[in-house]
Symmetry: C2
């Protein structure tokens, strides 16, 4: 096989195959060997010996080379050389394994179609939730179960930051700095912390679950950069943790996909998934829930998932890449907004003037939003000095089931009334 | 295919194939159909129409019949007709799917050998943790990951009872009665509540994880019937829940398998697995942990797992039933007892006489057992009247890392000294 991209995952994969190759060959009854590689620098020290391997500067040339029988793409990026190389391999019927979620989210349907036409296999277990075998479970492991909802923690950077904010009471900015120092976050963290990475992964899972075309752009995406210690503390007081969830649900009128910070009950299994761990939960029509939790990234877990795809291809396992043949995928159909069963958490800085709270709750009532509880904590109030120096109080409201658009309209009205300072915070509460 | 056994799971399977057959056939590109059945009573109403199916009184005759190409065993029992029928099918090269953990635990190696010799496939996804695809994950989903430890909640009856004891403060006996009324526990609950069912499942998982022969009898097995409200309450106070875990670990000197009630930290993912849910956790040499949680029993989830095996066989997926060829399995090697890292919880009823506590703690010291904390709660003391009417106090001690045998020796000594009433309770604390 040929491996393009020798970063952390690629180098780990080559190392595993060089070290444990004999044992795997015994298990498989077939020879598994990396014979050729492509990467940016030939001389960089990666802790592996590539001197005996055929070298390619161009991953596309490697993908097409007759010297390999399987192409592993670990370059990354939704277009460019990764896309060109994977496309080239599939066009000539060569099986491909990739860990590239951005590529799959953007071109997954096209690539699946190419694979089906040429009879090549396309594995991407490592593209979603790194070391967790969620793709295999969805493609092969569920028998007759019809998925009604899939949700999960799919970005280790965000989960690491939220976990530390919860455990240590430090700010988002400080956590992010630490995560960057530890290599858990990129220099430009936008893609992770603003939820786009989660959206890519969610869109791939949603297609496998529901049989619609991949639609990474058809969803509301909100990241964690606006989560404050207020939010974390109030959540804890109310018996919740805050997690960044990607959620996709089958409704009568189409698919609902969304990515946003979420209050999850402390006792739930998904609330126990902390640090860089990921988790994916599946709810079926039989109302039973399956939770898969594990490492979302890192060299060994991700390389292990890549290898499980390689082993499946070597064994001759044949399944359509996206679960059903690509020409049977339905055009994506976005569900209209629905009332959110779990209600909302709203935090705002109300000006410390008489009548403010009454005015705010009146506006909520006008939009038929029922308030479950209102929390004004004196210990939080001290921190809530508005930028213009005017005194304000942090007010937290928990709503009952309602439409998000109603809440947003009420908040816009309240802002226009001049009773609040800054942007209100709005977080969904999931009952799970 | 032929289905032997039309209980809850069998009838659900037939119903699913009759109802969703067309959709599955489309997904698979191949016809899936139940053509013959065997069960005890032909006339019993199971909510399915079996009038068009070939009927067999004898499951062995069905297993051997040329009218079927796959045999599904849902009879149950470790010997008897289930064993005879599965053996007969495999001997003539006919693929078998079974949900029978007792059969697998006792005869798994023999059956795997028969399957390999005749070229038949043997699927048993539903035998461990019902609706959770843990067998597939272990056989195919882990690539290069080498498992160091497997543990889990594998009996829904026990988990249901412990969850209700924790949430509602009721006794084991009352919970058991409710579980029986709801159909979650058998009339004779011994097999479930004393841990034997968990031991069977654990032994199958251990073989898939570590490549040793199945050894369901080579372990200490302790059930939940002696768990009291004292234990549940103290656990909660200390930040733990009590779960019945099966744990198997690879050590330098062999395999350690054990089934017992365990203190698990409240915030851990496995502690969030409540009610009839099951969970299996895998720790690999890369120290990453994978947790799979879901329904451990019930018609639809279990039938769905049976069906996932059927689909794999129809697709032509070929893997050795026990992960490696059966003649490469190592003879089971039991690890010698080791000090338990997490320490122990000890509850005993100390006679209310001067010097009792000093005498007890002295005996612990003689066995080099370090005590982390001693708890005497007045609210629990009232309940601890000895059967002979003498006043006693409930004393709870938490030890540091030590050997279980040391603790048991110290407790025997303490009992001989005459300072305690009744049997002490001893529960392992797992750090997880």
């Amino acid at each position: 096989m040929g491996v393009a991209g020798l970063g952390n995952v690629g180098a780990t994969l080559v190392r595993i195959l060089q070290k444990d190759g004999a044992e795997l060959n015994k298990k498989l009854g077939r020879q598994l060997q990396v014979t050729a590689v492509a990467a940016r620098s030939r001389s960089r020290d990666r802790g592996i010996d590539i001197s005996g391997l055929e070298w390619f500067d161009d991953p596309v040339a490697l993908a097409k080379s007759d010297s390999i029988d399987l192409f592993v793409e670990l370059i990354g990026g939704e277009d460019g050389p990764a896309f060109a190389a994977v496309k080239s391999a599939l066009e000539i019927g060569r099986p491909v394994v990739t860990a590239n979620k951005a590529l799959l989210a953007k071109h997954g349907v096209l690539l699946a179609k190419l694979a089906e036409e040429s009879g090549a296999q396309l594995g991407f277990e490592a593209a979603v939730a790194g070391g967790i075998p969620v793709i295999k479970t969805l493609r092969e492991g569920l028998g007759s179960a019809r998925i009604a909802k899939v949700f999960g923690i799919m970005n280790g950077t965000c989960n690491y930051i939220l976990t530390r904010m919860g455990n240590e009471g430090i700010t988002f900015a400080d956590c992010l700095k630490d995560a960057q120092a530890l290599g858990y976050a990129e220099a430009d963290p936008t893609f992770d912390v603003e939820g786009f990475d989660t959206a890519h992964k969610l869109s791939i899972l949603a297609t496998l679950c529901f049989g619609y075309e991949i639609a990474p752009d058809k969803m509301r995406i909100e990241g964690i950069s606006r989560i404050s210690q207020h939010d974390i503390q109030v959540a804890a007081d109310l018996g919740y943790k805050i997690k960044l969830l990607g959620i996709a649900e089958r409704t009568e009128n189409g698919i609902e996909q969304r990515v946003h910070p979420t209050f999850v009950p402390k006792g739930s299994a998904i609330a126990g998934v902390d640090g860089v761990m990921n988790a994916v939960a599946l709810e079926t029509d039989h109302v039973h829930e399956l939770l898969l939790a594990g490492p979302g990234a890192g060299g060994p877990p991700t390389a292990s998932s890549v290898l499980s795809d390689i082993l499946d291809i070597a064994r001759g396992t044949r399944v359509p890449p996206l679960g059903v043949p690509s020409d049977e995928l339905l055009p994506y159909r976005e569900a209209p907004a629905r009332a959110h069963e779990g209600g909302f958490y709203i935090r705002l800085a109300a000006k410390d003037v008489p009548g403010a709270l009454a005015a705010i709750t009146t506006r909520m009532g006008e939009k038929s939003i029922s308030i479950d509880s209102v929390i004004q904590r004196s210990d939080l109030a001290a921190k809530a000095i508005a930028p213009d120096g005017s005194p304000s109080r942090t007010v937290v409201m928990i709503t009952q089931q309602t439409l998000e658009s109603s809440v947003r309209e009420a908040l816009a009205q309240i802002a226009a009334d001049g009773f609040i300072v800054g942007e209100p915070q709005l977080i969904r509460i999931e009952k799970l």
